[in-house]
């Protein structure tokens, strides 16, 4: 009997084969798109079936496989346990949806030969990271994933902005991998035992554990988009074709979260309570700053990328809570927090894929990513705008959709904080809870803006005039995701129970069995404390909305009237004078912007009698980029400028340098106590 892990490895191998095939078929342009996406769709669905069989049968017993490749005498170890099963499910489902979407969307690609070989390779890389069970395989797969996604980022490399995005992504990805390399190196210890099993058994010293935590925050955090390591994400994710953006935002960030959970919760053993404070701090910071950046953004895909940063912040806050509870031996609360994190990761992969698909459909239809040039698309793309609206409602965590459930679970975990013994955590957790609430509210505002400016109002440019709905493949992918957003929202108990093997294996505890609750309610701790029933909310919303529609249509006039609506203060017919995204964000910018973005507004009024128009100037700074990255770049420039002289020394001087360095080393050796 061949093990499940081996079956999935065959899946990975066939993905790689598809990548090679894509290179071959692209000699004749235009023929390969359907074939490649069809194959990746088939492989992903097959992998999902294998995983589903596992979940239904026995999700706990790990399934392993060893390949005789990689480092000599070590080989490549692969393992499929509850945690990797869950994340593989996220990856393969995201891959299947992106392939389905790509079946239609890919035909608009001007240079398919730059996308098709790397798309299956990217999927294969992500699968391998999650399957890997030793440090070498893990790092190799991680780097493979980074590089194949980088190749997808620079598909349209002739555009200056994309080339820059690719460069920054490459630098940050290398930096992240370096941090991971050091973290896993520390874990493998002086004995150099690279399998995760040995690391798990070794149990690192507190000092090593501290370094590993810091390095994992740098390594996995930079891939996931933790502030202040997020800078590459809003540049790179939108630069790729939209279905790849969906994969990068919806799925690859989850792979980073997986890496973090695997090392911190699984390999590192018992956490210390203060390590949770660090995770909580960066999680909260990421959530709020991510969504503030998103609010300031007027490029639709970049807005979505910034919103990804916010969601990663939410996930990391939940992970920090899980760490805090785990360190204090509060297993049921820890299970609740970890479930919230995983549930949110799953939800985010649903609705962020959906939203990026929608943005891709808009981009194909209009050729525009700038929201200030869109508007009124609801009339031209009714189906796309409907599913986009579903995605927006879900990501704004409104009931009865799935985003609400996971955020609600996170808040339930926050509410467990009074039981924590440490005062630092007692103060910190509610504060972070406040940040979480703030970010949820801002996210709602952000997506009101995203939907309102893009789809409502009237067209702001001629690009919109001839837009029409996306093709049936793209719409199918988006509708499937929208339905899942709703289903996960009204049947959350199913998901929570499905996650219980993961929390059992990582924390040793689980949330109460939800499907045993009456009427599909979910209860995080006990029914006496709090419970939520998504189905009830959904039924209530459906009934009240239908009743409202009925009442309006029954008792109001049936006639369709077109009359002067409230014009938001503009009376003339110029579409450009509508409410814009920038003006929508102005109140929030005025509250937070002076501090976070050093935003300054200046109104230049003409002198009396002058005929020139008044001007409104807005200046916004990316403070993190300017205070953290620019100085590093300048220091590097300075150093390389000055070290450049070393390239042009005489042979004797080079010898002298070597000699002097040797002497210094010998002196160190001689004087070392």
């Amino acid at each position: 009997m061949i093990s499940d892990a081996a079956v999935l490895l065959w899946g990975v191998a066939s993905l790689l084969g598809t990548a090679v095939l894509a290179i071959a078929v692209n000699r004749t342009p235009g023929s390969g798109t359907r074939l490649v996406y069809g194959l990746t769709l088939g492989i992903s669905v097959a992998a999902l079936l294998v995983l589903a069989g596992r979940v239904l049968e026995d999700p706990v017993t790990p399934s392993t496989a060893v390949l005789p490749v990689g480092l000599p005498w070590i080989g490549a170890h692969f393992r499929l346990d509850a945690l990797s099963t869950f994340f593989l499910g996220v990856i393969d489902f995201g891959g299947a949806m992106a392939s389905l979407y790509g079946l239609g969307y890919g035909s608009h690609e001007p240079s398919p030969h730059r996308v098709l070989p790397f798309f299956p390779a990217f999927l294969a890389g992500m699968n391998l990271v999650v399957l890997a069970d030793d440090a070498f395989t893990f790092l190799l797969s991680w780097e493979f994933m980074s590089l194949s996604s980088w190749a997808l980022v620079i598909v349209h490399h002739r555009e200056r902005e994309n080339a820059r995005a690719g460069y920054i992504y490459l630098v940050m990805a290398s930096f992240g991998t370096l941090a991971l390399l050091l973290a896993l190196g520390l874990l493998s210890g002086p004995g150099g035992n690279y399998t995760f099993e040995a690391m798990r058994a070794a149990g690192p010293t507190p000092l090593v554990a501290t370094f590993v935590l810091a390095l994992m925050l740098l390594g996995a955090g930079s891939k996931a988009g933790l502030v202040p390591l997020h800078v590459w994400l809003p540049l790179a994710h939108p630069a790729a074709p939209s279905h790849v953006s969906a994969l990068m935002s919806g799925v690859m960030t989850k792979v980073a979260v997986y890496g973090f959970i695997r090392v911190i919760f699984d390999l590192l053993g018992e956490p210390t309570w203060w390590s949770s404070i660090i995770v909580l701090f960066f999680g909260g910071l990421t959530a709020v700053l991510g969504i503030l950046y998103a609010l300031m953004e007027k490029d639709l895909k970049r807005l979505l990328a910034y919103s990804t940063i916010e969601n990663i912040g939410v996930i990391f806050v939940s992970l920090g809570l899980a760490l805090a509870f785990k360190a204090n031996a509060m297993p049921s609360a820890a299970a609740l927090a970890l479930t919230a994190a995983l549930f949110h990761a799953l939800n985010h992969s649903f609705f962020k894929s959906l939203l990026f698909f929608g943005a891709g459909a808009v981009l194909t239809a209009t050729g525009e990513r700038d929201m200030e040039k869109l508007g009124g698309l609801i009339h031209r793309m009714p189906q796309t705008s409907f599913v986009f609206l579903v995605g927006c409602v879900a990501i704004s965590s409104l009931p009865p959709f799935n985003g609400f459930v996971s955020e609600w679970l996170a808040f339930q975990a926050v509410l467990q904080s009074p039981d924590l013994p440490q005062w630092g955590l007692k103060v910190m957790v509610p504060a972070v809870g406040g940040l979480l609430a703030l970010s949820a509210a801002l996210a709602a505002a952000c997506f009101v803006k995203a939907f309102g400016i893009t789809f409502l109002g009237r067209p702001r440019s001629s690009a919109v005039e001839h837009a029409h709905d996306a093709d049936r493949y793209s719409l199918a992918a988006m509708f499937i995701l929208a339905v899942l957003c709703l289903l996960a929202g009204i049947l959350p108990g199913l998901v929570i129970d499905g996650l219980s093997p993961v929390t059992l294996s990582l924390i040793g505890s689980r949330m109460p069995v939800q499907m045993a609750q009456p009427w599909l309610s979910i209860v995080p701790i006990a029914a006496s404390r709090s419970s939520y029933n998504g189905l009830l909310v959904f039924v209530f919303i459906a009934i009240s909305a239908s009743a409202a529609v009925y009442v309006i249509h029954r008792f109001a006039s049936h006639a369709l009237r077109r009359g002067p609506a409230w014009g938001c203060g503009f009376a003339d017919g110029v579409a450009g004078s509508q409410y814009t995204g920038v003006s929508f964000a102005q109140p929030i910018r005025r509250v937070f912007g002076t501090f976070v973005f050093r935003a300054t507004e200046r109104v230049e009024m003409p002198a009396p009698g002058e005929t020139r128009p008044a001007r409104f100037n807005l200046e916004v700074h990316d403070v993190i980029w300017e205070t953290l990255y620019l100085p590093i770049g300048k220091a590097l420039d300075f150093a390389t400028d000055h070290l450049n002289h070393l390239q042009f020394l005489t042979i004797r001087r080079y010898l002298t340098l070597v000699f002097l360095f040797l002497i210094v080393l010998l002196l160190v050796l001689a004087l070392w106590p």
Binding site: T650, R652, R653, L655, T656, L662, L666, A670
Partner: protein, 220 residues
């Protein structure tokens, strides 16, 4: 081991360091090569003595190689090269003799301090030997660094290799293979650099490595 054998081994190794100092002092090429020949002879004696006291006959081969190649063949070859190139009148130290000698003394002190500390558990003869060998290596490097002329850099490099041979023979039980390979690496280096010298001669009409810098468009 009685006192006399130890003293003689010590004397020969110490003599090698002394000859290294003499090499530092030379500012004419012929003199430098002659001193190098002396260096190789002392090395051959020292290796032979080691062969005698360790009762390791294969070390005699090493001693013979040192004597024939390094004390005779290579110096004669270098003499020829210098005559052919017509550079025997060049004075070519880059740093003054005084500071070089002071630096040399410092290097010897450093290697003594270091080696006696690091090898505290070892056999006293091997310890002294290693300390002397490290001094010779460092002095050889110093010769290379303080000379402009390619020929004298080659000589510095070979005296450095002599130090390596001394270290290898001082440690008991070093297999012959290694010594032959060390000796041959020196020979090969000599041949390669000799060819290199002639090419320099053809192109730049000088063996001063400064000419290479001119060729690369740089100036010291």
């Amino acid at each position: 081991m009685n006192g006399l054998t130890f003293d003689i081994a010590h004397l020969l190794a110490g003599g090698l360091v002394l000859v290294s100092f003499m090499m530092l002092y030379q500012d004419r090429l012929f003199a430098l090569i002659n001193v190098f020949a002396v260096h190789a002879i002392v090395l051959a004696l020292s290796v032979a003595w080691q062969a005698y006291i360790q009762d390791a006959h294969h070390l005699y081969v090493t001693a013979a190689i040192a004597l024939i190649f390094k004390a005779i063949v290579i110096p004669v070859g270098l003499h020829r090269i210098i005559q052919r190139l017509g550079i025997h009148r060049d004075i070519e130290t880059a740093v003054g003799i005084g500071p070089t000698m002071l630096a040399g003394i410092g290097l010897v002190a450093l290697s003594m301090v270091l080696m006696l500390r690091v090898t505290s558990g070892a056999d006293p003869l091997a310890r002294e030997d290693l300390a002397f060998a490290l001094s010779i290596i460092l002095l050889g490097l110093l010769v290379m660094v303080t000379r402009r002329n390619a020929v004298s850099q080659v000589v510095g490099f070979m005296s450095l290799e002599n130090g390596l041979v001394l270290a290898a023979t001082g440690a008991k039980g070093m297999p012959l293979v290694v010594e032959i390979s060390v000796a041959f690496s020196i020979l090969i280096a000599f041949i390669v650099i000799g060819v290199f010298l002639f090419r320099i001669r053809e192109r730049f009409d000088s063996v001063d490595v400064g000419a290479l810098d001119d060729y690369r468009g740089e100036h010291r």
